[in-house]
Symmetry: C2
DNA sequence: AAAAATTAAGTAAGCGCTTAACTAAATTAG
DNA sequence: CTAATTTAGTTAAGCGCTTACTTAATTTTT
């Protein structure tokens, strides 16, 4: 049978109020009764029901995490780092994969609100901000990670995606490449990376390839391969490809190989994220690294301080990407 | 402000009982009032508080999922497949990484019980079954996935790990290998795979390498590499290595490369799981595939039927692994 | 047309907890 | 030694819901 606060109170010959006080360490209780109650709690293996205390306005110690896809290594690594930090604070994560679908985003947001999660960490697309804005207005703790909403005042731990794209282009140009194709999905982060990429090109007066188009479908290996194949068999063949995430880059590598060419000798390939798979693929992928661990930690700390009501002013923490050179890029011969 | 059932009731000129009835579609309500209430709920954007109804014995529509490590591709892919199926039933997942640590396992179990999750899916080690047995006794819905407890009557969706190991050994032996090292971690699934592996060897009268030892630390690339290095530089050098998961296998591949040798020409490598990374590594990894999607779906369906109280008898569903031949294995020359 | 049966809605208790307000006992002050 | 203060613990209301029970209104039966 489930043991409640009443059972403990009866067994310890005190009122439930007293028990509640020793649980929460609030109010005044004598040393003796406190010890007595604690003994009984231990003996009965009493576990306070968090639903009940949540109903009374206490926290649920649960945070909702919305990401595009848990099976994507970047997001599973990010989720893990958030989880680890959350665990230190006694928090659990409800993780929801949205596939960048607005319906799923809103559905999950509603569902988690009903479940009284203490706060939300959003790493999904949210092209439609309506619901999120509303939540912010309602003072629901919401933090954004790995995404950025300029012009929207909301606590954010972002990556400088623009700089990431800029870095990628710069590296490739330094190697002598002039015809660089980009593989990207039409989501915020990728658009920013593309923007940074173009900026770098422009500064060197290099033309951006005119046959660019966004992939449709998920940022996975297959779509990356398909798009790379398209570029490589088109009439304006690139000498390098910048893919906006590692998965896409790996697809591109596969495409090059399938055409009987070599990476990086015939085509240089760059990725983005620096997930585990970047180190595994052959050749090891030159990529733009995101400080995943740090992002996870920072955003969790941020949401916790919001939940505690400490954080008054809104802040945007922008972390910087860095170039990780491996063997998938080489000077243009 | 938060809108409650009272607000709806007032606005619709009915009692909260009536509102509750239309929410849950229980009891008798006239068409007209029903429509009226629904209109008001929509208008006020009323979201029933699940804490409150959970307190009254209703479900929380939340399932606890305990896995060793969310950053491990096998488990993140499994988690995603469970999540997808859960979503169809309106359920959310609280995902906890245990790192195979009994303290974490028990801590999470307790925490999630306090949060009134409707059921548990366990994919962690649980070498210490005490807590789990207790929960089963208390009729808490618990299902096991990707793990097996023979001699323990509990609903399970398992993989035939023994067969997996057997398959791996058989394949390698068919290629002519006789000296096959095994890289494994001292956890249930790996022990079973090892057992199956040895069984296959025995049937062909081939001796198991005497210098075997379990890795310590996580089943990750580095430990795999380290152990492979140890085997390959020892005095009884294997011609093939069977690693009990893809990550370890990739470490082994890196070790071989580091020694200036070639996979599969000098050393054949096999993995286990058939995660995304098996397709990405060079050479593509011959591995034993787990039907991840299917496992996820099946275990979710299982726990749902337990939650609904439909499932009376305990069942163990054992899914079968299969060999996926790629290029990391070759005949012994 | 009155009694019986059916339908529609309301009343109120209670889920397990927190907390403000209160009482009683113990301590200190004057 | 009484009054003021502090300390320890209790009472009871209420968080937002569900549900068994009840009442009132309507329909059906004879």
């Amino acid at each position: 049978m489930k043991v409640t606060i009443y059972d403990v109170a009866r067994e310890a010959n005190v009122s439930i109020a007293t028990v509640s006080k020793v649980i929460n360490n609030t109010g005044r209780i004598g040393e003796k009764t406190k010890r007595k109650v604690e003994e009984v709690m231990k003996r009965l293996d009493y576990q306070p029901n968090m639903m009940a205390s949540a109903l009374m306005g206490k926290q649920t110690k649960t945070i909702g995490l919305l990401i595009p896809d848990l099976a994507n290594p970047f997001f599973s690594e990010l989720a893990r780092s958030i989880e680890d930090r959350a665990h230190e604070f006694g928090y659990n994560l409800v993780i929801c994969s949205t596939d960048y679908l607005p319906e799923k985003e809103n559905k999950y947001l509603n569902l988690l609100k009903r479940k009284n999660v203490d706060g939300f960490i959003l790493a999904s697309g949210f092209e439609n901000l309506e619901k999120v804005e509303e939540m912010v207005k309602e003072k629901v703790p919401v933090a954004i990670v790995a995404r950025d909403f300029p012009m929207f005042s909301i606590n954010t731990v972002a990556l400088d995606d623009f700089m990431g794209g800029y870095l990628a282009a710069s590296h490739l140009m330094k190697l002598g490449h002039q015809k660089i194709a980009v593989i990207a999905r039409d989501v915020w982060s990728n658009r920013e990376r593309l923007r940074g990429f173009k900026q770098a090109l422009e500064e060197k007066n290099i033309e951006f390839m005119s046959n660019f188009e966004y992939i449709d479908g998920p940022s996975h290996v297959e779509p990356g391969k398909k798009m790379a194949l398209k570029y490589l068999t088109g009439d304006d063949v690139p000498t390098a490809i910048f893919a906006c995430n590692d998965l896409l880059a790996i697809g591109a590598i596969q495409a090059v190989k399938e055409l009987g060419k070599s990476v990086p000798n015939d085509v240089s390939i760059m990725g983005f994220d620096n997930t585990l798979i970047a180190t595994i693929v052959e050749p090891p992928l030159t990529t733009i690294a995101q400080p995943i661990q740090n992002m996870g930690k920072e955003v969790l700390d941020l949401i916790i301080s919001m939940i505690k009501g400490e954080k008054k002013e809104v802040m945007r923490l922008t972390l910087l990407p860095s170039l990780v050179e491996r063997n998938s890029t080489a000077p243009l011969v």
